[in-house]
Amino acid sequence: MAHLARTPIRLVRLVLLAFTLVLAPAALTAPTPAAAQASPDEVATILAGFTRGQFPATLAAIDALAASGHPRAAEILTALENRRLVFETAGRRVLWKDASGAHFDALTGEPVATPGATTEVRISNAVRRSVQTAMASLTLRAPDPRRRIEAAAAILRARDLSQRDALAQARADEADPTVQRAFDDTLAGLAIADASASEGVRMAAIERLAARGDASARALLLGLPADAPDALREAASEAIAAIDRRLAIQSHVQNVFFGLSLGSVLLLAAIGLAITFGVMGVINMAHGEMVMIGAYATFVVQELMRAFAPGLLDLSLLVALPLAFLSAGLVGVVLERLVIRHLYGRPLETLLATWGVSLILQQAVRSLFGPTNREVTNPSWMSGSLELFGIALTWSRVWIVVFALAVFFTLLVAMKATSFGLRMRAVVQNRRMAASMGIRTPWIDAMTFGLGSGIAGVAGVALSQIDNVSPNLGQSYIIDSFLVVVFGGVGSLWGAFVAALSLGVANKLVEPLAGAVLAKIVILVAVILFIQKRPRGLFALKGRAVES
């Protein structure tokens, strides 16, 4: 779903990029078609203003140059500001130097290999200010739409009314709808602050910002001077209230998303446990270490890819998925064969044995990889964020939600629709009957434990993206995982699903009220109390088999 939502935005980006790439060179050499352009003679006259050695002449030349639409105006003005604008003392030809010191003819833009003796154009603070103002209006016509938007934002930040005409002019010539919107917002913001504008214009501006309805519009509305007419102030405060409501809803939606994302992390961490603990009844304290093994498998795959196939580094996560599943699953099968199978029916003793195993695994990883954090880089398709209705969602979080759902439903299908799943459920429900029907129960036990461990390993791949990969990685999830399984109801996959997501969302909804740590405490206590009410969790298994 997120993938579908993502595509149009990507397309727009691509089109914009192509647009910029194709048009940029043209725009650099040719003048912006819409802007009126001065003839070379006129430009020559303007440039001559820089050679007088008098500030008023320089100032006049700056304004005239900015208005001329001369294609190299921006370079010339930048050079002036940086004391790199010079003229040949003899011929009065104006030149600019780039950062490396090469000279260019200001009129034609051609490189000048051997300039004669040159004199620097002197500048003062007044000149600097004038250059900056001129640059702002020039960048309003910059070829890159992002720079145009930035220029408008800069004008707005400075509440620079002197730029309004230039901005209005640029708006009239603007073709890009995104930039048009930005310019309109800026004009509206300026109109609000401008006491000389008519009430109708200012009212229209307020309405426009109210319709935009985000945090920056709110800031602009707050910029309405206190001495503005009552009608305006009323409209503005109404608009602000409306925006506040909207922002509140938005932040709720955002919190819910954060909660879902946290819930997905919990789900990933707990789902393997829902099998080893929930289905098999093994209190698997080494579950967190299976997650850790998965995370380290991701790290190893990434390092191998970096060494042998750096071009495919972005795909290392996909390669790591099956390997993490297999390595953690293999450890799980070995653990089951060596230790767990001797302890069936004695769940509390599996706790001790697996606690010991978790210590061994932690120390093994510490000896192999060192005690420090290992860095797993995010692939490019997971960095950045997705903008949706004014809410920024980081891609890594979005992918984890998607991934957790995928893992969950894959597991559900594996349990309900494969013959292995059928045999597994048969063994869980009635071991002796299943054995009588010819199911090799020890083999099923080993495979089931391997499946649960393997899924924990897969969770490790995802968690390596948002957490530190260290030998202690698993420990931080083990308590939460058990809580999720117990809250959901031991033995119920759907219970774990509902429990993980509701705990995640509840946590994030409490967090703004109470802070992160207190929210966690509140949730823990709430779950403890809930267990008193429903001692067997949300989705309690029913029937006689439960008591045994």
């Binding site: 210590l359 823990l524 403890i528």
Partner: protein, 378 residues
Amino acid sequence: MTRKPILFRLMAPHIAPAVLILVAAAALVPIANLAFPPGHALHVPTGTVVLLGKWLTYALLAVALDLVWGYCGILSLGHGAFFALGGYAMGMHLMREIGPRGVYGHPVLPDFMVFLSFEDLPLAWWGFDVFAYAAFMALFVPGLLAFVFGWLAFRSRVTGVYLSIITQAGTYALMLSFFRNELGFGGNNGLTDFKDVLGFSLQADGTRAALFALSALALAGGLLLAQAIVTSKLGLVLVAIRDAETRTRFLGYRVERFKLFVFTVSAMMAGFAGALYVPQVGIINPSEFSPANSIEAVVWVAVGGRGTLSGAALGAFLVNWAKSFLTGAYPEIWLFVLGFLFVAVTLFLPKGILGALRGLRLGRRAGEPRATSAQPAE
């Protein structure tokens, strides 16, 4: 069946020697520490006394845990919390006793409160300048928590792994709470820099030896108390609950009341152990609440032998001895050894060291292994 008099029951073959050893140690170790000069063959260095004293408090915690787990089937993964609460109660008294000798020299407020710019002493700290009150609270607070928690949990018949997991969640929640500075118990750093207790300097050898003796006697007392409970009629009901809770309920026993009683007593024992622990190690901080500590306590009991009381104490000693020996000698491999030890004990000595020894002896006497029905079910 006629019941033996209480003295006979207390002097069971696995309790009496342990109590005798402890009483002897309470008398002899301080003498060996104080009366003989360093370098003398019989001298016990103060460091050893402190270490042994610390293990004695751990052993008392293990006995408390064995009382509920070994005899009533309640596997608490949160007993470390009761231990830590008792420790905090004692720590608060020791903080108050520092008085104006703190770094900031405030007459009433402990240093960390001055540092966190508290105005007045929080309500929870009132009265802790009186030793008797602090000692009472070290028993009362863990007992109250256990009572409330147990009343809720046992009444709604939360059993088995569910109970274990929520006790673990409970201690985890307490750890997070105590990490918060706002709670007013020293936050991250906990309580430390203690000066003296009842006017005796905590750094003095005499005080340390006395604390050791107290711990040894407390452990002996704990063993006797636990043995008295488990061999009483009530104790028989506890074992019945452990082995067949539903059947016991159908026989007309109010199962939850028995459980609540033993759970509360056990929590108070753990709190007492914590109160003895803090003056000896000189610090108490929120990491004492960490779930790993509680699990470790369960491991001591399992190694020593659950349902044997003195075995739990033995387990606490052995595991902690192995831990301190290996962390010193082979820091790289000690986790391997410890982990392997847990696996090996559960696989090969399911009844723990003492349980295995007892099985051997009984087996030789009867010529056959013990009936399996007598062993704890889960």
